[in-house]
Symmetry: C2
Subunit: 224 residues, 2 copies
């Protein structure tokens, strides 16, 4: 858990609640249900605020409509599910039903709940640090969100060809313990693995690995 958070949790109770599914039917001493659903509400609000502040700072030319649109792309259900799935948060869930029956949105819901727990445990500043590390740094790519970059795979291949660097995508099945078929990919350039990724389709995994490699090489590529 500490590895995922990047800091030491203080109040473990918040995190325990993050991973308590409503099917466990837990209640507190006042009879209120104990599960992660209220934390989702809190985490969603913190996520929206942190992303709003990030976009406000990073895109001084964007007007209100632009900022709103970019934020909704970042905090889209699909994207949050991807974030939660990447961290494989479902493995921590305590529940009376099998993980297969959680549905797709459980990944994003737990991710939001985790942000809510961080707020309760350590306050807004730690939400910022966590979101910076887990959302903004690896995923918030403004040209891509604006639709200016369609495929990182094609950008990367183009670059490798120009540089006469051999490249190879090594794709393999890598199923999660949530029973879903997943694919892993290792991207090598010049015989060195430069990026790894995991996603629900081969294409998505390749794209994600390409994006990671692209960011790692970005300075090099931009110099060309």
């Amino acid at each position: 858990m500490q590895k995922i958070l990047g800091f030491a949790p203080l109040d473990l109770e918040c995190y325990r609640r993050t991973f308590t599914h409503r099917s466990s039917n837990k209640v507190d001493s006042d009879g209120n249900p104990v599960n992660y659903e209220r934390l989702e509400f809190l985490g969603d609000a913190m996520l929206s605020a942190v992303i709003a502040a990030h976009l406000f700072r990073e895109v001084p030319s964007g007007d209100e409509g632009y900022l709103t649109k970019m934020r909704s792309k970042i905090v889209s259900r699909e994207h949050l599910n991807e974030l939660g799935r990447d961290l494989n948060l479902v493995r921590f869930i305590e529940s009376k039903i099998a993980p297969v029956h959680f549905g797709e949105n459980v990944h994003g819901n737990i991710f939001e709940a985790l942000v809510g727990a961080i707020y309760l445990d350590r306050g807004y500043r730690y939400c910022e640090i966590f979101i910076e590390k887990r959302v903004i740094e690896p995923y918030v790519d403004i040209p891509r969100l604006e639709g200016k970059v369609i495929s990182y795979k094609s950008l990367l291949i183009e670059w490798c060809q120009k540089e006469k660097q051999p490249f190879h995508y090594d794709v393999f099945e890598d199923n999660g313990n949530d029973g879903q078929r997943m694919y892993g990919v290792k991207l090598s350039i010049g015989n060195k693995v430069v990026a790894k990724a995991r996603a629900t389709s081969k294409k998505k995994a390749e794209e994600k690995a390409s994006q990671r490699a692209y960011f790692a090489f970005q300075e090099k590529i931009n110099k060309k």
Copy 2:
């Protein structure tokens, strides 16, 4: 300004921007428009986060749906307009068009922008302090939002009659400098003014004064 904020502003530029209307056509050195519209986006996000955290703490029995509904009542356009109008924020606006042409939503928009400016100037913690003082303390009344209390005026009158206290609503016209017809009211109980309020109708002003008096007397009333 400091009186409204409740603390000393550090970066005056943020607040100057809060009160710059788009009609002033200002631009910064990069050609980006300088007005309060981007700050509205930021302030709205901070307001939502602070109110979410408040409701989360205050209503431990409320589920996700309840919390979402309560928050949207608090941050409704109508309510934000009321908040901005009460502080008479429009008087600070720098613009090339007459205040009468701003439209009704200008009050709420400027209020949101002010919260955004506070975030930029002093960070999340000061947004919390400001929202606590200007939104939560005077206005966030959970029973009322839940629709359990329909009229504070009738609650108050009932109490005065039980207590055999004479009461009097003194209503007068009190137009703002935004050219709108407004009403002021002074509520006296036992020959002492116990609350004042100002609103767009006589009825609203009386209700607001009654609510303020009710909160002031709440302990007394609850003991009965």
